[in-house]
C-alpha cells in the first residue's frame, strides 16, 4: 500500500514546536460568553493513530475514554453548548469564509462554519454551526468583526453527535492552513481561558443609599474589574463598554442627568482602555427628577452593539435612591 503523503504532518510538527514562542502579546478570548462552559476535547498534538498528547504534555491512549482531555487526531477544541448559543470571534479580524447551507442538526461529511482571518496572520474556525436559516450565521464574507463579536450560533451540523462548538486556530503557511493548539503552554495568548466579556463589582462612591434633592444632580461612580478577555474601551464604533440601565434592559431612566449619552446609558468607561484584570471606573450623574420617594435604579455593563454582560457576575448591581423635596 502506498501511503498518502501530505506536507501537513511535517509542517504541523514544526509549528507545534514553535507555536508557544511566537505570540506573547495576543488577546484571543474564548469563543463564547458563558464562563461556565466546559472543555470537552482538546487538540491532539500527537500525530499517531491511537495515541494522543494533550496540552499539558500528558499522553493518552484510545484504550480508555478521557473526555475533558483529547481525542485522536483532533485538530481543534470542542465546547458543548446548547443549540443556538452565541459564538464569539476570539480576536478581531475579517471573515474570509462561511457556510450556512447544512441543516442545524444534519449529520454528514460537512457542516456549517465561519472562518476569520486575524491581523497576526492566524485564522480561527467555528464549526458545526446552526444553519443560516436558523440564525447560525451572523456575519458575511469580508465583514470586519471585533473580538467578542457574535459570529454565529451553535448547532450540530456535519460529523456531530451533540450540539457543540468545534473551535480551531490555524496559521497560514503558503497555501496550507495548519491547525495549532491554542492551549498548549498557554503562551500564545495573553488571556487564555477567558470569555470576552465578564466583570465583577469592586466598589463605588457610595455603597449605601444615594439621597438626592429633587431637581439636583449628584455624581456617582462605580468600579468593576475586567474579568473577561477583551480590553474595555470607551470610544470604538462597536463594542464600547458602557454602563446602562437594566431590568428591563435599556429602559429610560428617571435619574438620567445631563452628562448621560442617552436616557438609558449613564456613561462609558472613564479610562481610554482597561486591560483584563484592571479596574474600570464609570462616573455619571444622577438627577433627582421624580417626585420625592424611595427608588432603585439597576445598571449593567454593555458592550454596545455586541451584548450585555452577565448581570449576576456584577453582583446584581443597583443603586438605592431617595429623592427629597428641595426645601425639606
Amino acid at each position: 500500500m502506498t501511503r498518502m503523503r501530505l506536507a501537513l504532518p511535517m509542517a504541523l510538527a514544526v509549528l507545534l514546536l514553535t507555536a508557544g514562542s511566537v505570540a506573547a502579546l495576543d488577546d484571543y478570548t474564548l469563543p463564547y460568553y458563558d464562563p461556565d462552559v466546559e472543555l470537552l476535547y482538546g487538540f491532539d498534538r500527537d500525530g499517531r493513530v491511537g495515541v494522543q498528547l494533550d496540552w499539558t504534555g500528558k499522553t493518552w491512549y484510545d484504550s480508555q475514554p478521557h473526555p475533558g482531555r483529547v481525542y485522536d487526531n483532533h485538530t481543534g477544541i470542542d465546547y458543548p453548548m446548547p443549540l443556538y448559543t452565541h459564538v464569539a470571534a476570539a480576536k478581531r479580524g475579517t471573515v474570509v469564509d462561511r457556510e450556512g447551507g447544512y441543516g442545524t442538526q444534519q449529520f454528514g461529511a460537512f457542516g456549517n462554519f465561519v472562518r476569520v482571518r486575524h491581523p497576526d496572520g492566524r485564522q480561527s474556525l467555528y464549526y458545526h454551526l446552526a444553519s443560516k436559516a436558523d440564525g447560525g450565521l451572523l456575519v458575511a464574507v469580508d465583514e470586519s468583526v471585533p473580538a467578542g463579536e457574535p459570529v454565529g450560533r451553535s448547532g450540530c451540523s456535519g460529523i456531530c453527535y451533540g450540539p457543540h462548538l468545534h473551535f480551531e486556530v490555524l496559521v497560514e503557511n503558503g497555501q496550507l492552513l495548519i491547525p495549532i493548539d491554542p492551549m498548549h503552554g498557554r503562551l500564545w495568548t495573553t488571556w487564555p481561558g477567558r470569555v470576552p466579556f465578564l466583570a465583577t463589582y469592586v466598589r463605588e462612591s457610595n455603597g449605601g443609599t444615594e439621597v438626592i434633592r429633587r431637581g439636583q444632580t449628584i455624581t456617582h461612580w462605580v468600579e468593576f474589574r475586567n474579568r473577561g478577555g477583551r480590553t474595555w474601551r470607551p470610544d470604538q464604533a462597536r463594542g464600547r463598554i458602557a454602563l446602562a440601565t437594566w431590568d428591563p434592559p435599556a429602559h429610560d431612566s428617571r435619574f438620567a442627568a445631563a452628562d448621560w449619552p442617552a436616557t438609558w446609558m449613564a456613561t462609558t468607561v472613564n479610562q481610554g482602555s482597561v486591560e483584563p484584570d484592571d479596574v474600570g471606573r464609570f462616573t455619571f450623574g444622577l438627577r433627582g427628577s421624580p417626585p420625592a420617594g424611595s427608588y432603585v435604579e439597576t445598571f449593567n455593563l454593555l458592550a454596545e452593539g455586541v451584548r450585555w454582560f452577565d448581570h449576576a457576575h456584577l453582583g446584581g448591581y443597583y443603586i438605592p435612591i431617595v429623592v427629597t423635596n428641595l426645601y425639606e
Binding site: 470537552l40 462554519f113 451533540g162 492552513l177
Partner: protein, 328 residues
C-alpha cells in the same frame, strides 16, 4: 431564561455528546490492525438476525427507484449510503460514524455481507457494483470486493468521502486535514495501488460527480458560494454558480439539471430557467434523465417533478437505479 434552565440545558448537551463522541473515538482501528473481514449471511440468517432489508424496485423508464425496507415491514433504522447502479445491492450503515458501525451490503436476493467498520463514514459502489470504496472513522480508505468478500486498506488519508469508483479501479476521494471540521478538502484520485494524485486546485470540494460523457464535475465551496467546476480541466471551467449555502448538489446524467439543498429547502435549476425552490427536504438526487428529483422528506423519500409537483412517496430511503439492470 433562568440560570437553572441554562445549566440544565448544558448538562443535557454534555451528557448527550460525551458517550456519543466517545463511541466515535474509542476502539477505532489503528494502522496496524488487519483488514476487517466480511461476514456472509444468507437470506434466512439475515432474517433471523433481525437485520434483513429488502430492496423494492419501482420500474419506470429510463430509471427505476430502489427503496430500502426492513424485511419485517418496519423502517430500516440504518442509513442508506449508496446503491449499485444496476440496483442489485445497496450499501447501508448501522450506527453510522460510531465505534459500533457496521457496513451492510444488502443484495436483492436477501443475502448480506456485513463488515464491522468502526467510525464508518461513507461507502460508494463502483459502476459495476463489484467494488466499494469505504471510509472509516480515521478517514482511512478501504477497498471492498463484494464478489470475493474481501477488503484491504487502500490509502491512509484522512479522507472524508470517496464519491466515485471508476471502472478501472481508480477511486475519487476528498482528502481533508480534519475529519470533524473539514473546512478544506482536496479532490484526489487514488489508483488501485494506492497512489494519490490531486485533481483540482479547489480548496474545499464537497462532492464529485461523473457525467454520462465522462466529465468529472467537482462541487466546490468558495467564500462567495458553491460552484460546479470541471475537474482536471487545463483551465478552470465553471459549469454553474449556485450562490451561497448550496449544498448536497446532484446532477442529471448530462449535467443540464441541477438540484441542491439549502438549509432544508430543495432548489432545482434546469437549462430553461432560473433556480426554483421545489419544497422542503434534504439530499436531493436528480433522475438520470433530469425529469424528476428524489428528496428525503418526512422520514422517507418523495419523488417530485422539477416544478415541485410531488408524484410519489416512499416510506424508506430510496435511490435511482438503472432500469436495465433491474431484477424482475
Amino acid at each position: 431564561m433562568s440560570a437553572r434552565t441554562v445549566a440544565a440545558q448544558r448538562a443535557v448537551a454534555l451528557a448527550a455528546i460525551v458517550p456519543l463522541l466517545a463511541m466515535l473515538i474509542v476502539n477505532v482501528t489503528s494502522a496496524a490492525d488487519p483488514a476487517p473481514t466480511l461476514r456472509r449471511l444468507d437470506a434466512g440468517a439475515a432474517r433471523r438476525n433481525g437485520v434483513s432489508v429488502s430492496l423494492q424496485r419501482t420500474p419506470g423508464p429510463p430509471a427505476a427507484i430502489l427503496e430500502v425496507r426492513a424485511a419485517d415491514g418496519a423502517q430500516f433504522a440504518g442509513r442508506l449510503l449508496d446503491v449499485a447502479p444496476n440496483g442489485a445491492s445497496a450499501a447501508l450503515a448501522e450506527a453510522l460514524g460510531s465505534a459500533a458501525a457496521v457496513l451492510v451490503i444488502a443484495r436483492a436476493d436477501g443475502t448480506q455481507l456485513r463488515l464491522e467498520m468502526p467510525g464508518l463514514l461513507a461507502a460508494t459502489f463502483s459502476s459495476d457494483g463489484g467494488r466499494l470504496a469505504v471510509v472509516d472513522g480515521h478517514g482511512r480508505l478501504w477497498a471492498v470486493d463484494t464478489a470475493a468478500a474481501t477488503s484491504h486498506a487502500l490509502a491512509d488519508g484522512p479522507f472524508i468521502d470517496a464519491p466515485i469508483v471508476d471502472p478501472d479501479g481508480t477511486t475519487i476521494a476528498l482528502a481533508v486535514p480534519s475529519i470533524e471540521a473539514p473546512f478544506q478538502s482536496r479532490l484526489v484520485a487514488i489508483d488501485p495501488a494506492g497512489a494519490v494524485s490531486v485533481l483540482s486546485d479547489e480548496g474545499l470540494v464537497y462532492d464529485a460527480l461523473r457525467l454520462a460523457n465522462g466529465s468529472l464535475v467537482a462541487v466546490a465551496h468558495r467564500p462567495r458560494g458553491t460552484v460546479l467546476v470541471v475537474a482536471g480541466a487545463k483551465h478552470r471551467a465553471t459549469v454553474a454558480d449556485l450562490g451561497p449555502d448550496a449544498v448536497n448538489v446532484s446532477l442529471s446524467a448530462d449535467g443540464s439539471v441541477i438540484a441542491w439543498e439549502s438549509a432544508g429547502r430543495i432548489f432545482v435549476r434546469t437549462a430553461s430557467g432560473p433556480p426554483a425552490e421545489i419544497g422542503p427536504g434534504s439530499e436531493p438526487a436528480v433522475a438520470p434523465d433530469g425529469a424528476s428529483v428524489l428528496v428525503r422528506r418526512d422520514g422517507g423519500s418523495a419523488l417530485v417533478r422539477t416544478d415541485g409537483t410531488e408524484i410519489g412517496r416512499f416510506a424508506a430511503a430510496s435511490a435511482f437505479v438503472e432500469c436495465a439492470g433491474c431484477a424482475p
